[in-house]
């Protein structure tokens, strides 16, 4: 009894696609990091700490995971003769974040309104 919807997807397909979401981005702390990096060109470690409210260790470990996946890249540079690290989302990271956001919209977009 699986009827078809207007958009051609079968009933339950939307909710099933929830299982295919990118878990690397889905984790709340990493979602905050990627969302914050998505809206800017690049930012440094301190800026991300301030924006996300994460501790140094927490941010470091999440960043490493994103870096390992190729979502995030680190650029070393010198500011006033002192080493400085800027972080930015790679093309792969940007695509993954876009796909994640599309999928979440797709899943929750047609969710029925809560009735009391």
């Amino acid at each position: 009894m699986t009827g078809k919807k207007k958009n051609g997807r079968k009933d339950g397909e939307d909710i099933q696609s929830l299982a295919e979401i990118d878990r690397l981005i889905h984790e709340p702390a990493r979602l905050l990091i990627t969302a914050n990096l998505y809206v800017v060109e690049s930012a440094d470690f301190l800026f991300l700490m301030r924006q996300t409210g994460l501790t140094h260790g927490n941010l470091s470990s999440h960043m490493s995971k994103l870096e390992e996946a190729g979502y995030l890249e680190v650029k070393k540079e010198f500011v006033q003769k002192r080493p400085h690290t800027m972080l930015f989302l790679t093309e792969k990271g940007r695509r993954a974040f876009k796909a994640y956001s599309r999928r979440m919209k797709q899943v929750f977009g047609e969710f029925p309104e809560e009735t009391d």
């Binding site: 969302a35 809206v39 301030r50």
Partner: protein
């Protein structure tokens, strides 16, 4: 989380937070106080020093904002809007300069009406530039400044009050507001060990 996921809003908030340090307000205020002082004292020679206030922007941002909040580079779209804002200011000043020079060359001296009301032209230009940049960057307090400049300018014209008061009132207001913003910013963003390490 819902508001964080509104990406346009997040970008705007990020930009505004980065500029909530009051530095621009302080420099703008000092600049206006300088202009007011020029009109009040008729001492036009030190005007070159007043322009130099602008040169303090980057060093102040580096010394105060960056170590407390970190560094960020905004998207080309945002950079484009910043350039548009700066371009508007440059265009406004150029139009004033060209119009002034043109009139001077045409009549060998500036028309009496213009000579009498030149400061008001500067007041109107300042108000328009503040409003345009306030709207472009989404900084509402600049629109409030613009209204303040127009209201004090109109009052000064109505009550035949010397126009330097407009610059002194706006300059004082912007400097005090900037100092308050700066104090709040420093209190909310203390230096951390991470800020030393970059």
């Amino acid at each position: 989380m819902e508001s964080s996921m509104n990406l346009k809003q997040l970008e705007k908030e990020t930009y505004l937070r980065y500029h909530r340090d009051g530095i621009i307000d302080i420099l703008m205020g000092l600049f206006s106080l300088g202009i007011g002082w020029l009109f009040a004292s008729h001492e036009y020679t030190p005007s070159i020093i007043i322009w130099m206030v602008i040169l303090f922007y980057k060093p102040m941002k580096e010394k105060i904002t960056a170590p407390r909040m970190g560094r960020v580079q905004f998207h080309p779209n945002r950079q484009h809007r910043i350039k548009l804002g700066t371009g508007t200011i440059a265009l406004g000043l150029t139009v004033l300069l060209v119009a002034g020079t043109g009139l001077f060359l045409a009549f060998k001296q500036l028309p009496v009406f213009l000579l009498e009301h030149a400061p008001y032209l500067i007041v109107i230009t300042a108000a328009v530039l503040l409003a345009v940049n306030g709207v472009l960057h989404g900084i509402r307090r600049w629109i409030v400044y613009s209204v303040l400049v127009i209201v004090t300018g109109a009052l000064s014209l109505l009550f035949s009050c010397p126009v330097f008061w407009v610059f002194l009132i706006f300059g004082g207001t912007a400097t005090i507001a900037g100092l308050i913003y700066l104090a709040i910013f420093i209190r909310n963003h203390p230096r951390t060990p991470e800020s030393q390490n970059g």
